[in-house]
């Protein structure tokens, strides 16, 4: 075994995959901006990705906000900075934890579901059937999912921001002795619209990644149950990694 050959093969494989994903994303983008748009499909996906993800996103946010408040209080107490709890919970949730954690939960729920559905359609020849029926799967299947994710993930993150801040508020006022009105005023005074806006921009990017990875891995799924299972796993893992990587890039742009 020549180790250089192995490195070369892995590099070529990664380049090939990157190229394929980029081409796939380009075709999806063209399908998103050009008519016809399948509004019924977009609406169905908005419900599937958005509405039905509310419980998981809400629960993630409330517990994250609550734990964040406890940690900041404990850490802040070391140098008499307990009063910064509302400020840091607010900025931490809106700029970072709201978008990243909500998107990670959605990567698990939505990317996997999209990859499984499209992978199953691929192996049962439904995508081929669609083509023989003069319908482009990029327009009918992929574009509605991407458009829906672009719309609803920022909305979900906005809801996660509110619930996350409420989680911090609940712990701070019930366990840590904060005054409720003061906590709300501190939060409102400290958070800027850019804190929230930059988180929502991140959410839109993460939404695109979540839907793209689900669609791509479903579309290139191998045969049989094993192929679809692998596509599902790959979709979740690649979406999560890309969310972390793009989060770093976007954060470095926004700070």
């Amino acid at each position: 075994m020549n180790p250089l050959a192995s490195i070369g093969r892995a590099s070529l494989g990664m380049s090939r995959t990157t190229g394929r994903v980029a081409l796939f994303a380009w075709h999806c983008f063209l399908a998103m901006i050009r008519p016809p748009w399948f509004f019924g499909q977009i609406w169905r996906q908005i419900l599937g990705i958005g509405f039905y993800s509310l419980p998981v996103v809400g629960l993630t946010a409330v517990f994250t906000g609550a734990a964040l408040a406890l940690n900041i209080y404990t850490g802040g107490a070391r140098f008499n900075a307990e009063s910064f709890v509302p400020n840091i919970v607010g900025i931490g949730i809106t700029r970072e934890l709201g978008p990243v954690l909500a998107s990670l939960m959605l990567a698990g729920r939505v990317s996997a579901a999209i990859a499984a559905e499209i992978g199953a359609m691929k192996v049962t020849e439904q995508i081929d059937a669609m083509r023989t029926l003069s319908t482009d799967p990029f327009r009918y299947l992929f574009a509605p999912r991407l458009i829906a994710a672009l719309i609803v993930v920022p909305m979900l993150v906005l809801i996660a921001d509110i619930i996350g801040i409420f989680g911090g508020f609940a712990v701070a006022t019930q366990s840590l002795g904060f005054n409720g009105a003061l906590y709300v005023r501190n939060t409102m005074d400290f958070i800027t619209s850019w804190d929230v806006g930059s988180g929502l921009i991140k959410a839109a990017v993460f939404g695109f990644i979540i839907a793209l990875m689900g669609c791509y891995h479903g579309y290139v799924s191998g045969r049989g149950a094993q192929g679809v299972g692998r596509a599902t796993t790959n979709a979740v893992v690649s979406a999560a990694i890309l969310i972390f990587a793009s989060n770093y890039l976007l954060t470095s742009l926004f700070v």
Partner: protein, 256 residues
């Protein structure tokens, strides 16, 4: 008088890595004729069909539909040519998330932009042509038996009265009686529509029923072609072995 063939395939090649699946297929099908391509598993039948349908791009060669070269068509022109086709997939390939009538009317609604109520009416007519009762219209595909799913697939294939019909292993996985029903329906619809048909199968009973002509593909090439009535005395040892379903003969089924 010689007229141009409806489908004309010449020197068609397709490989996957080092696996040469199609190695120079030559095949013409005249308008209104039903050609059945027989051959064992892995001989290139499905790849041939996918190349004609435009689901796969051949490496080399020509596929002409009504004289128009189709191997390098743009997406828009591909959709236009696909408008001439009706296809029955091996497993039905029905869309799980849609009802039966929505499956049948899929092309009418999404490609031809016919209003839903009119499309439903046309779908119900197509279902009636394949003996599917209207009460099934709102069911989902998972609620139907394999034979009924095949009939839905057939209704979907014929709903726009296409010029060319393709059938991929139409009787695979069906009991003999249901298979006979499907064979009869296919023959009826091909005759009624006056369509050109290409079917692939390894079911000789089905081939005899639906074919005007039969061609045998072996190692990526058409090695015999003739009228369906001649299939039992083809004089070709490969065809004879296949038709008699014998392990003895020039086709090495044990060689991997």
């Amino acid at each position: 008088m010689n007229s141009d063939p409806k489908i004309s395939i010449s020197n068609l090649h397709k490989s996957f890595g080092s696996n040469k699946v199609l190695q120079g297929v030559e095949l013409d099908v005249d308008a209104g004729k039903s050609l059945v391509v027989i051959g064992g598993s892995g001989t290139g039948k499905s790849v041939l069909l996918k190349c004609i349908l435009g689901l796969m791009r051949p490496d080399q060669g020509s596929i002409r539909i009504d004289g128009e070269e189709t191997t390098r068509l743009s997406q828009k022109n591909r959709a236009r040519v696909a408008g001439k086709f009706g296809m029955l997939f091996q497993g039905g390939a029905l869309f799980d998330s849609l009802s039966i009538w929505e499956n049948v009317a899929f092309r009418l609604i999404h490609a031809d932009h016919i209003p839903r109520d009119k499309a439903k009416e046309m779908a119900l007519q197509a279902m009636a042509r394949v003996n599917l009762a209207e009460r099934n219209a709102d069911l989902s595909p998972a609620e139907l038996s394999g034979g009924m799913q095949k009939r839905v697939g057939l209704a979907r294939a014929i709903v726009t009265r296409p010029q060319i019909l393709f059938f991929d292993e139409p009787t695979t996985g069906l009991d003999p009686i249901t298979a006979d029903v499907i064979n009869r329906l296919i023959r009826e619809q091909v005759t009624d529509l006056g369509a050109t048909a290409i079917s692939i199968t390894h079911d000789m009973e089905s081939a005899r029923h639906i074919a005007d002509e039969i061609a045998m593909i072996f190692q990526g090439k058409i090695i015999w072609r003739g009228p369906a009535k001649d299939i039992d005395h083809s004089g070709n040892p490969y065809v004879e072995q296949f038709v008699t379903a014998s392990a003895e003969g020039p086709i090495d089924v044990m060689g991997g």
